[in-house]
């Protein structure tokens, strides 16, 4: 931005409240107009009644975003994004807009719920039916809340956290994923609408698995979700994100940021099941999922573990990473990525070893079918000070069909002789022998493939919390439907 333009901006920003939201006089409007500008950023911030420092922070991000280039290094291909064609703020849907009952919901969606074995009540919630949430989950949610409060765990939307414990948020927000980390994260910093905030006090083992699912009223957090989880000394938390059910969303562009901070002896386990709409067979209309996830093991003996099952989205661009700062800290990454039809996924992890005796483990299983394209991209970096660091990486790819692609791009940079880094990768197809054996025993081809693939993913599925694991197994099969025969 030129100096003159900057001055004009500055004058504008101080020339009174009125200008700030000049384009829309009604602050109660539940949708910002299309497009992105400083005014929109101010609008979002005002809408959420945010403190001044956060507005400044957002504006800083926005200005950096303007200058930053799109990341070009990944293998995914898509037409240039027109950032001006999106709405950057819309209030959660009111009940009037929702389907009144399951009868109004796309039957295809319901069929999938059926296959996943989701109870009817949950189906209603997932499909966004305007039911009166008197049924279990609300009461469950309230009981949960009470339990969490008893032990001092803070688990709430980040906007609420800004009111309840602004200092905590301010202390950690943007410290793991800096504002200008990459263009997508930068955009998120400027316009994030909501997300979760979790704080686990010292020595507390969170009594239950925290899940966005129980934050029902916050389901429509929109396309720019921001999550911040802080595990104080000696604490433990397991966090589940997403769900196995296919999620419809009219927003094509999703750029979430997740930041994890683990202090001394703390452990965070973060599990994701991502099943956004992948678009039609040619990938049209599917979600662009550009996520920046990073965890910092700040304390000694801390541990961060990422587990992800990625089956949805037209494009996935996601590298949950660990910065292993504290001595003896541990980073883990377990991933299953399944792409079918025209889906594209470029996903992997970064393990940055800074502290002594830090260890990391990467298990990545990629399955590509149809005419999809998938890339594992990973970095293992051992700094000169990371005495005795240890990494083990295994990434296997399975190809189903002759129109798909599977790629492995690992980077290993070692600057310490006492560190041991091991990397293994294989790419192959489903063994004819295994398929033949299963079919010979009367198992239909599609089920046989699902079985073999589930076996292939076993190591990762085992890492998922129980209730997730069962559904994820079914999901693996469903995602590959239509890819064989």
């Amino acid at each position: 931005m030129s100096a003159t333009a900057e001055t004009v901006e500055q004058v504008k920003s101080i020339s009174g409240e009125k200008y700030k939201y000049g384009f829309v006089t009604d602050i109660a409007a539940d949708k910002a107009p299309k497009g992105l500008s400083e005014d929109i950023v101010r609008f979002i911030s005002a809408k959420k009644r945010e403190p001044e420092w956060l507005l400044e922070w957002r504006l800083k991000a926005y200005r950096r975003w303007l200058e930053m280039p799109e990341p070009q290094w990944s293998k995914v291909q898509f037409p240039p994004i027109d950032y001006q064609q999106y709405h950057y703020y819309s209030a959660p849907k009111s009940d009037d807009d929702r389907p009144k009952s399951l009868d109004e919901v796309d039957p295809e969606l319901l069929a999938t719920y059926e296959k996943l074995g989701i109870p009817i009540k949950e189906q209603e919630v997932l499909a966004g039916v305007a039911v009166d949430y008197v049924f279990d989950s609300v009461s469950v949610a309230t009981t949960f809340k009470k339990k969490l409060e008893e032990v001092g765990v803070i688990f709430c939307p980040i906007s609420e956290a800004l009111e309840r414990c602004p200092d905590l948020v301010r202390k950690y927000l943007g410290t793991v994923v800096p504002v200008a980390d990459n263009k997508h994260a930068c955009l998120n910093s400027a316009v994030f609408t909501d997300g979760s905030f979790v704080y686990i006090p010292p020595g507390v083992k969170c009594p239950m698995e925290l899940s966005t699912y129980f934050r029902i009223n916050e389901m429509n957090t929109g396309q720019f979700e921001r999550t911040l989880i802080v595990a104080d000394k000696g604490s433990y938390v397991s966090y589940l994100e997403g769900c196995t059910a296919p999620m419809r969303d009219e927003n094509q562009l999703h750029a979430a940021v997740v930041e994890l901070v683990a202090l001394d002896d703390a452990e965070i386990k973060y599990s994701t099941v991502q099943n956004w709409y992948p678009g039609d067979e040619d990938g049209k209309g599917g979600i662009y999922n550009f996520v920046t996830k990073r965890g910092a093991c700040r304390g000694r003996n801390s541990k961060i573990s990422w587990t992800q099952v990625e089956t949805g989205s037209a494009i996935t661009w996601k590298y949950p990473s660990c910065i292993l700062q504290g001595d003896n800290s541990v980073g883990e990454f377990y991933s299953i990525a399944i792409t079918n039809n025209a889906q594209q996924a470029d996903t992997g992890t970064k393990m940055i070893h800074l502290g002594k005796n830090t260890t990391s483990r990467i298990i990545s299983k990629g399955i590509s079918a149809g005419k999809s394209d998938q890339t594992y991209r990973g970095l293992v970096k051992i700094s000169p000070k990371a005495e005795g660091a240890r990494n083990y990486t295994q990434c296997d790819s399975l190809l189903i069909g002759d129109k798909c692609g599977a790629h492995t791009v690992p980077y290993i940079e070692s600057k310490n002789k006492n560190a041991i880094v091991e990397h293994e990768a294989t790419t192959s197809t489903i063994s004819e022998d295994q398929l033949f054996y299963l079919r010979q025993r009367g198992i239909p081809e599609e089920a046989a493939v699902a079985l073999v693939v589930n076996g292939f993913c076993r190591e990762v599925l085992q890492q998922l919390p129980m209730e997730f694991a069962v559904e994820a197994q079914k999901l693996v099969g469903i995602s590959l439907e239509g890819s064989v025969g």
Partner: protein, 443 residues
């Protein structure tokens, strides 16, 4: 024309270059100069040069070699012994006094590039620049523009060359930094067989910059073994770009032993173009001081039923740094491809650094591809075991390093060359009691 600061006189050659007067070659040179002008020297901003910066080229201005630079007296040149022919180049100039190609069998042509350009320009035109066609390689373009030396090996259909042929390229011994640009052309016709051993050595003091390009065409059913020892001097910058095409049922074997050089980069582009083609692309690197060694390769399995195997192992001491970037690409419908890649590095010092990037890019489903990479230090348990049996630590270390690299050298199928190369490995190791044999005798 763009200024080329690292070359005295830029890309304008005020000297006689091989093939002067050949129109097609002049066009190629002009095109190369133009392309290099557009691309400039590669920088770490390019993904394929992420870990290697041509720093010596920033710091020095090299003079393209003139006639005199090649006349220095050189002794004790490396050799694998009994060979069918031998060419020696000093600073890019062929030294007839040291070369011997009198004993070549029928159907084998082995001589300097300029001779072939003079004697058989039509053949040269039909082969030069055919295999190396990539559009965006600055260093290849630079060689295209400046090629001033190099050799041709041409083995005719069905001819089997029993003994290896040998090329020695010596650099250094000049007052000012010099640059030379060898262009090598290797054509192995159908069902022919040949083995080539290349020695790159540095002598005396003096910085020099060698930018070589090699084109290899291994036709259907042919077997070609390409062995290279790169033992350049501590001030040398060595960049080589190799393009190879391997035909139906043909075998291309390559081993690159990197022992020295301030900065070396070996880049290879291999296309398995015919069904049944096999490529063994291996190497070992041993670096110390502040040497930097980069091995980058791209193996394209373009058709069904091809195999490739890659084993690279290295040892880094002091503040040395090595880069391994390997990529196996399996084209759409290139079914039944079998590709294996392995890179292992031992770090002997805390200042040493290894950056490795073994890549697979696969577009066919019925394939078996794998890669592995490890970095670490000497196995402390093994070291303890040896010492507990009374073997001095220095020797125990040497034994472990030697056996570590031995795995890579085992890939050399020519037993004699393997022995000679192993000897080079042993002599690289720290001098005290490096020979296990000597120690055994003294015990």
């Amino acid at each position: 024309m763009t200024a080329v600061s690292f070359l005295e006189g830029g890309l304008d050659a005020n000297r006689a270059l091989p093939g002067d007067g050949l129109d097609w070659l002049k066009k190629r040179r002009d095109k190369g100069a133009e392309k290099f002008g557009a691309l400039g020297l590669p920088t770490p901003k390019l993904e394929s040069w992420k870990y290697t910066r041509l720093r010596p080229l920033d710091d020095n201005t090299y003079t393209p070699v003139l006639d005199g630079a090649g006349d220095a007296s050189v002794k004790d040149l490396p050799s694998v012994g009994d060979v069918a022919g031998r060419l020696v180049f000093v600073n890019g100039k062929l030294r007839e006094d040291l070369s011997d190609v009198s004993d070549l069998p029928e159907g084998v042509r082995f001589g300097p590039l300029d001779e072939i350009l003079k004697d058989d320009p039509a053949w040269a035109e039909a082969h030069l620049g055919v295999v190396a066609q990539d559009a965006d390689q600055a260093m290849l373009a630079l060689n295209d523009a400046m090629m001033d030396s190099g050799f041709v090996l041409h083995v005719q259909k069905g001819v089997v060359l029993r003994k290896p042929v040998e090329v020695v390229m010596v650099g250094g011994m000049t007052d000012q930094p010099v640059a030379y640009f060898p262009r090598n052309l290797i054509v192995i016709e159908p069902n022919a067989q040949a083995t080539l051993v290349k020695h790159h050595v540095g002598r005396g003091v003096g910085a020099y910059f060698a930018n070589a390009a090699t084109e290899i065409d291994v036709a259907d059913g042919a077997i070609f073994k390409n062995y290279k020892v790169q033992a350049e001097s501590m001030q040398a910058t060595h960049v080589s770009t190799t393009h190879a095409r391997v035909g139906r049922d043909a075998t291309f074997e390559s081993f690159n032993l990197s022992i020295g050089g301030l900065l070396s980069r070996s880049e290879a582009w291999i296309t398995l173009a015919g069904e049944g083609a096999h490529c063994g692309f291996n190497g070992a690197y041993m670096m110390r001081g502040n040497e930097h060694c980069d091995n980058t390769s791209y193996i394209d399995m373009a058709v069904p039923n091809t195999t490739c195997k890659q084993v690279y192992k290295g040892v880094l001491d002091d503040a040395a740094r090595a880069v391994f970037q390997g990529k196996i690409h399996v084209a759409r419908d290139a079914q039944k491809a079998d590709g294996r890649m392995l890179n292992k590095t031992l770090l002997l010092s805390n200042e040493a650094e290894i950056d490795t990037k073994p890549e697979l890019e696969i577009y066919a489903d019925d394939v078996q591809c794998a890669h592995g990479a490890t970095t670490g230090q000497l196995d402390q348990t093994a070291l303890f075991y040896l010492r507990s049996r009374g073997i001095p630590e220095a020797l125990a270390r040497n034994m472990l390093v030697q056996s570590f690299l031995g795995d890579a050298l085992d890939e050399i199928t020519d037993a004699h060359v393997r022995e000679v190369f192993m000897d080079r490995v042993v002599h690289w190791l720290p001098a005290h009691c490096y020979l296990a044999g000597e120690w055994k005798e003294s015990a």
